[in-house]
């Protein structure tokens, strides 16, 4: 079989997980006075008794940032890696208005969460029986099966309905690769309902 279309071969299952959340960190390079930022900026909340960081939100891309006094910032809520970087730059631009020495150092995506639907019911118990080394399934505590892939530290939440949540990846390719790896296993444990 010739590899004509690389896209077709890359996803034999035909399903590509959609990204739901991207968490990234960036170092603004200088210490910040959180109180003054909170007072001057719009859309910023700061409760030093509750949490030692300013929580800032922007509408486009719809994200939330935690800005710490050390100058480090965490950006969450973006739907793709590029959006996360854009949002982080916007936050840095906002802070730059109050402190011009701000830089944009060491931007790194820390976690990506993706989800998808395989559209068939899955026998979680059988999956737990055969892959007990990787699975944790306790229907009393949580209805989903927690599948931890050992070699790439990716965690998948597999539900009876066939919906899958994939997390722990640092790049989109890792998410897709993890899903491709688990798809044949899920097909193997498809629930076949008689009558």
């Amino acid at each position: 079989m010739a590899k004509q279309d690389s896209k077709q071969n890359a996803n034999p299952s035909g399903i590509i997980p959609t990204l739901q959340n991207v968490v990234s960190t960036v170092n603004l390079g200088c210490t910040l006075n959180l109180k003054s930022i909170a007072l001057k900026a719009r859309n910023a909340e700061y409760n030093p008794k509750r949490f030692a960081a300013v929580v800032m939100r922007i509408r486009e891309p719809k994200t939330t940032a935690l800005i710490f006094a050390s100058g480090k910032m965490v950006c969450t809520g973006a739907k793709s890696e590029e959006q996360s970087k854009t949002a982080a730059r916007k936050y840095a631009r906002i802070v730059q208005k109050f402190k011009p020495q701000v830089q944009f150092m060491d931007f790194k995506v820390q976690n990506i969460v993706g989800s998808c639907d395989v559209k068939f019911t899955i026998r979680l118990e059988a999956l737990q029986c055969f892959h007990s080394a990787f699975c944790r399934y306790d229907p009393e505590t949580f209805p989903g099966l927690i599948y931890r892939m050992k070699h790439n530290k990716i965690v998948l939440l597999i539900f009876v309905s066939g919906k899958i949540v994939i997390t722990g990846a640092k790049t989109k390719e890792q998410i897709n690769a993890a899903f491709e790896q688990i798809y044949p296993v899920l097909v193997e444990f498809k629930k076949v309902v008689k009558y």
Partner: protein, 314 residues
Amino acid sequence: MADSYCPDCKRSTEVVFDHSAGDTVCSECGLVLEAHSIDETSEWRTFANESADNDPVRVGGPSNPLLADGGLSTVVISRPSGTNSDSLPSSSLGRWQSRSSNPDRSLILAFRTIATMADRLGLVATIKDRANEIYKKVEDLKSIKGRNQDAILAACIYIACRQEDKPRTVKEICSVANGATKKEIGRAKEFIVKQLEIEMGQSMEMGTIHAGDFLRRFCSHLGMNNQAIKAAQEAVQKSEELDIRRSPISIAAAVIYMITQLSEEKKPLRDISLATGVAEGTIKNSYKDLYPYASRLIPSFFAKEEDLKNLCSP
């Protein structure tokens, strides 16, 4: 009569053991070879049927291999009803002993708590001993210091029940564990399982829970008759083939509800809720899920088609 070397005769001679004096004497020259031998037979004579309470042959409790010294140490008890002047020295002795560091102190306390909880649940000694073993394995890891001790002990019992194939729901264990919430016990259980896997490799064989495991117990709590229990077990077996997305305990409760509605003595929802620990609303919703398959689930020996029509539609 034995042979031993006598230093006076300078050859091996016959040696006699004198029990009354405890001497080993050479029979030819009369030299005492060994004196003050220690007699290891029993101290006192025991008579059958005398005092059935304390068997004088035994001087302590059963030896516990889990404890550091097998449970050999002696404890000074300060008498609570100390009437006479003896109370003063005994209480100071008790204080002195509790100050001395006993390496097993916390272990013994934990075992006692596990025993209390196991008694409340009515667990057999096998499960209790297994819970003790599990606790001992996790005991001295630094990571449990932060966690709730009650949650850890409750989780040990939960895991022991699972390993013996007689699972108990977390809610049941919650009811005897003072103060530990369902969430804490769940987290403690995950933690212990991870620790045990690290230490012992892949030996944590705990299968998933099924509705059938709990059915027998719930039915006997409610006092259902044997026919009903058998019908419920068959129904639960058949329900596993269906696509019902509910916790196994909720399914068990809903099946019990269906079966009792069909039989003569209908149990109210409240009783089933109390016996299983499932909320009434959840039983109703699970019943709604099961209702369409009622004819497939209920075995024919228990209820015919017409009776099924009498089943109230949710």
